[in-house]
Symmetry: C2
Subunit: 191 residues, 2 copies
Amino acid sequence: MARWEPNARERLVRAAVELFAEQGYETTTVIEIAERAGGLTKTTFFRHFSDKREVLFAGQEIHNRIVAEAIAEAPETATPLDMVGLALEGLASSFTEDRRDIGRRLRAVIANSAELQERSASKRAALSEATAQALRTRGVSELVADLAAELGTRAFYGAFDRWTSAPDPRTLVEYAREVFGELKTAMSVLE
Amino acid sequence: MARWEPNARERLVRAAVELFAEQGYETTTVIEIAERAGGLTKTTFFRHFSDKREVLFAGQEIHNRIVAEAIAEAPETATPLDMVGLALEGLASSFTEDRRDIGRRLRAVIANSAELQERSASKRAALSEATAQALRTRGVSELVADLAAELGTRAFYGAFDRWTSAPDPRTLVEYAREVFGELKTAMSVLE
């Protein structure tokens, strides 16, 4: 019988990231992750995730939804870049301070595995596509939507890198604004 | 003893793409690919490729090199976008007409496999990184190099999609110029 396990999902994510960092992604098993997460079972694990890889990419659908909703709700007068800016704020503000340390370890784990790098690239592409799709729904032309989505995705990942590298107390939202501003400047230099 | 097999590499690529399209990527074996390629052996296969997946991404290093060389050899006065335009021309012109049909089948095979989509995203990212790296070597700042590389990569993949979808006789170079122009226009609208 399924017991209710408080915060099981979150505990499994933390346990997985810890174990992958300590002993490597390849050698860690689902049973070890469940055990480390405070004596959970394999069955509980599989109620939350399809396999050990997906633990690391658990936020994908929620993130895509946050971005899509922010763009759908942007004011009528917003330009494509304004809408992306709002999406970026919404997404970045969903990362609480306690995600910073998980993010830092996760980056190191992904950097050590070609498989995880590929999965990570696919998550990033899905975020960009969700952004572009939401912009198209707002009447933005295909290519403009794609480029604006790309800028937003770059700003998010650039900000996440800085946030998880830096010891300073700035929030992910602050880094996101900073990187987005730099990208807009770089774009104006390009032409 | 290793026999010399004329065009073995090219024959293996064609055979693999044919078989993947006919019977699926998962179920096709290296032995079947070698056999279809005109009676080659598994040993010959592994002289050219590390595994059956890599057959589909064989051009990666050559493509990255073409792009890097085009940028390294661009005139002193070239802007980042000029350099990317030259890289794009060089890369697109390396695709002869007989690659169009292979490209068309390859697209269909990749569309049917999550694993191949991830590998494909990683090839695309590597092309973008090779472009950005070459631009940085030419003194372009990091963010500008990244954005210019992204535009070039988008132009190449957009052009490749059109080239392999369309029955019309235009070359990949012509499509590349067309899509690159559209992207530059979209970028000017964004700001």
